[in-house]
């Protein structure tokens, strides 16, 4: 059963039967919004990039993004860069696979971000969402829709952090500006 998350909401990544999740997928999907005006039928391609930053005690340790597709320890994998987004609705355009059981012991938070690499603001993006899927059975755990795109080029979507023996996901949904995750670091730090 999907939870539609709102900003600031946190859910525990425990399974209903008490076991904890072993692998999750953070999926990102979007579409370029049709432009109005004389050449309204011409939609510009929008390249959104999903990144995951791994933190140990508030220090960035590793990052997974389109130029570093696998974290050094192999626990976080990016499925590859999508430069144009989805032509239709629904499927994930970029996905980051997280093997929760294999994350190094010192990593305590993973922050997921979305950047507009081509520089358009989120006003020009439609149907953008970020969802968390239990990779072992394909079940969607949580979905967070990038509602009401504003004049910003990045968004800090969510963080997955250790809580007790398991993990918890918190929807952040903070707008920010930047082309890649590096630009977002100052905006990420308050959320750690």
């Amino acid at each position: 059963m999907t939870v539609n998350m709102t900003k600031g909401q946190a859910i525990s990544l425990q399974k209903n039967d008490g076991g904890s999740l072993t692998a999750v997928r953070m999926g990102l999907g979007w579409q370029a919004a049709p432009r109005r005006g004389l050449f309204g039928s011409r939609t510009r391609e929008i390249d959104l990039d999903a990144s995951a930053v791994l933190f140990a005690d508030k220090q960035p340790v590793d990052v997974v993004f389109f130029r570093h597709l696998v974290s050094d320890d192999g626990s976080v994998r990016h499925t590859g860069d999508n430069l144009v987004g989805g032509v239709g609705q629904g499927g994930d355009d970029e996905a980051i696979l997280v093997d929760l059981a294999r994350i190094p012991v010192h990593i305590d938070q993973i922050v997921f971000t979305v950047n507009s690499f081509t520089g358009q603001t989120f006003q020009e993006v439609q149907n953008a969402f970020c969802r968390l899927v239990d990779e072992t059975n394909g079940q969607e755990l949580a979905r967070y829709t990038l509602a009401g795109g504003g004049a910003y080029t990045a968004q800090i979507m969510a963080k997955v952090h250790r809580s007790g023996p398991g993990w918890t996901m918190t929807a952040l949904g903070t707008p920010a500006n930047g082309r890649t995750f590096q630009d977002l670091m100052p905006s990420i730090l308050p959320h750690l």
């Binding site: 539609n4 340790v61 320890d73 192999g74 626990s75 190094p104 012991v105 079940q139």
Partner: protein
């Protein structure tokens, strides 16, 4: 938003008029049972099935089909009904269809609104010997309806299922249903014969090439199963027009393959490639434990390729798990340092025991994190070690160590293997776990066996002569491996030994007669061999570029060539060095490979001229040395060459066989 249900999960229903879509790869029977608040069906009149398809608020198909739409109106249900169970069963008798759900694709059921939007869906997985299953139930809970994924199968079929629901006439009812289905079958065209090898191109029916999860608004068209020809989805649940392909998709797709199979994209006149042999099956694991490792448990078209991929998978796993461990330890170190610094810089803590306590706390935190990291590493190492223990004995000669028994059963191969083991790789964290270092064949780079003094070694090996001898032994062991894994005559070894200093090490090669010619001695010998090989590279390159590969001179050896150069740079003039560089650059593309046994320091007399040469070669060391980096995280791996164990006769035996095969080949 669709809820993908798992077994036992429920979901609220906000609408009362619903459709239940069923999709499966084969024709199945769909029925529904109503039951009261005690979960009992009150009689056969409470079962909707192909023989009696309509009940108040409920309608099912009259026939078996691969796609069903059941119409449900919950408001029209009698008050006494508290539960609607949706049943699926494989048709029994006639047509020779599958007898159990374990042999067909997992059925998919979805509850949708009348406009086709999915409310909840459920794929019934894990069925085996069952031939009837309760897929879903819709039930009243405090005045509201909910849906629950059930997935309860019955090996005894519908009769057992109905008996379980408390129906006294279970067997008779099951018989009625089967008869109704059989009548439906009789009305439809007979099942087509099994497809011939080259693909039956005549039209049999529309192809059900849809995935089972396409049960949405774009409902699958056409009657899929081999038996009932019923365009179920397009005209509502009851639009049965058996026998005639009125479905437009059947007309517009004249070359659809026969029913029941997905679209066949293979060329009808072309033989399919031989299917790969099935991968080894994993024995079932005891509950609560990971499955035991199996050799060849990777992707690939042959066992060779599977083992190659598995070894590389182990290599990457070890690299990454070590990276996780190292980064955790590094982090623990830096955190402890920072915390201790903080404690020291705080003047208040200098008084009393506060500073000591803070330091102690920092150390404890450090130790705890390192322990955790070590536990994770040990867990992964244990798994990889177990895998290595089953993989090593299963390796073919080209991938195996010299001490592997497989070398004692050596036969000259008919095909070039995918890769060759040059040695073992290990990390300091796990010195006992050795990963085979496999390189693809034909070699893409030449090899440089460093006879120089390794940095890690000071005095245990006394002199340069000794080092040179070990390096040459390594070269001979590797060359013998290359000779052995290539088919007879496909690989030729030349040796240049200007000073004759390696005669003893080269004895196994020279005495067994596998060399093309005795080792070339002196400056003249060097010049002669290099000139011949350079000419060969020129010729083959010209032929390849000119597209005239068949006009090469008849005497030219078509196999790959390996030149072992001992003692470089002794006996090499400038011209010979230039030729050597040419061979290193251009040779691999046309099957001429270099194996240099040399000390870089000694060769430095030629100046930076030779740097590109070293860089183009893969450096190997005769003694274990950590100079190789992995491609993922760049750890320094300790390489240990594949050497013949002392006192073993395996090298002589193998080379004797190679020599005999070469003699026969000529």
């Amino acid at each position: 938003m669709t809820a993908e249900l798992v077994r036992g999960q429920n979901h609220p229903l906000s609408q009362s008029r619903l459709e239940i879509r069923v999709a499966s790869g084969t024709p199945i029977v769909a029925s529904a049972t109503l039951s009261d608040e005690n979960g009992r069906a009150r009689g056969v009149e409470w079962v909707a099935h192909p023989g009696a398809p309509t009940l108040p608020g409920l309608e099912v198909s009259k026939q078996a089909a691969a796609d069903h739409r059941l119409a449900v109106d919950l408001d029209a249900m009698p008050e006494a009904v508290h539960r609607v169970s949706v049943l699926l069963a494989l048709p029994t008798g006639g047509g020779g269809g599958p007898a159990r759900f374990g042999t067909v694709a997992a059925p998919f059921v979805a509850v949708t609104g009348l406009d086709g939007t999915e409310v909840a869906s459920y794929r019934i997985t894990g069925l085996d010997a069952e031939c009837a299953v309760v897929a879903l139930e819709l039930y009243r809970r405090q005045g509201a309806w909910k849906v629950r994924a059930v997935g309860q199968g019955y090996a005894g079929g519908l009769a057992e299922l109905f008996a379980d629901q408390g129906l006294a006439e279970a067997h008779r009812l099951a018989g009625t249903i089967n008869e109704a289905v059989a009548q439906g079958l009789a009305r439809s065209v007979p099942a087509p014969p099994p497809r011939t090898a080259d693909g039956d191109r005549t039209r049999q029916s529309a192809a059900p090439a849809h995935g089972p999860d396409q049960g949405g608004p774009a409902a699958p068209q056409g009657a899929p199963g081999p038996v009932p020809r019923q365009p179920t989805s397009r005209y509502g649940p009851q639009a049965t027009q058996p026998g005639c392909p009125t479905d437009p998709s059947a007309v517009t797709q004249p070359s659809s393959p026969t029913a029941g199979d997905p679209v066949n994209y293979s060329h009808p006149g072309r033989q399919a490639a031989a299917p790969p042999p099935p991968p080894p099956t994993v024995p079932p694991a005891p509950p609560g434990q990971p499955a035991p490792p199996v050799a060849g448990d990777a992707t690939g078209w042959s066992m060779d390729e599977r083992l190659y991929n598995q070894v590389w998978g182990m290599f990457e796993d070890l690299a990454r798990t070590a990276a996780a461990y190292r980064s955790a330890v590094d982090f623990a170190d830096s955190r402890m340092e920072k915390e201790i610094d903080q404690a020291l810089s705080d003047p208040r803590s200098r008084i009393g025991g506060q500073g000591d306590a803070a330091r102690e706390a920092a150390r404890a935190k450090h130790a705890q994190l390192v322990d955790q990291a070590r536990a994770a590493l040990d867990r992964d190492l244990a798994q990889l070690t177990a895998e290595s223990e089953v993989v090593e004995p299963a390796l073919p000669p080209a991938y195996a160590r010299w001490d592997n028994p497989v070398w004692h059963g050596y036969r000259v191969p008919m095909e070039i293997p995918m890769a060759l083991r040059l040695g073992d790789l290990s990390l300091p964290e796990s010195e006992l776990l050795r990963i085979p270092m496999l390189v693809r064949l034909p070699l893409e780079r030449g090899l440089w066996i460093d006879s120089g003094r390794p940095a890690s070694l000071d005095d245990s090996v006394a002199d340069a002569l000794e080092l040179g001898r070990i390096a040459m032994d390594t070269a001979v062991a590797l060359a013998a491996r290359l000779l052995a894994v290539y088919p007879a005559g496909d690989f030729t070894v030349h040796v240049v030994d200007p000073a004759g200093s390696a005669a003893q090490a080269l004895a196994p090669l020279a005495d067994s007669g596998v060399l093309a010619a005795p080792p070339a001695l002196g400056a003249a010998g060097v010049a002669d061999v290099l000139t011949r090989l350079t000419q060969r590279v020129d010729l083959v390159q010209m032929a390849v570029r000119g597209g005239a590969a068949d006009s090469l001179p008849p005497g030219l050896d078509p196999g790959e060539q390996l030149l072992i150069v001992n003692d470089f740079p002794h006996g090499f003039d400038d011209r010979a060095v230039t030729q050597l560089r040419y061979l290193a650059d251009e040779g691999p593309a046309v099957g001429v490979h270099l194996m240099m046994v040399a000390d870089r320091e000694e060769a430095a007399g030629y100046g930076p001229l030779l740097d590109p040469l070293w860089r183009s070669l893969l450096r190997l060391t005769p003694l274990p040395d950590d100079h190789l980096a992995d491609p993922w995280v760049g750890h320094a791996w300790t390489y240990e060459p594949a050497l013949v164990p002392a006192g073993s006769q395996v090298l002589q035996q193998v080379l004797t066989q190679v020599a005999a095969a070469r003699a026969k080949y000529r």
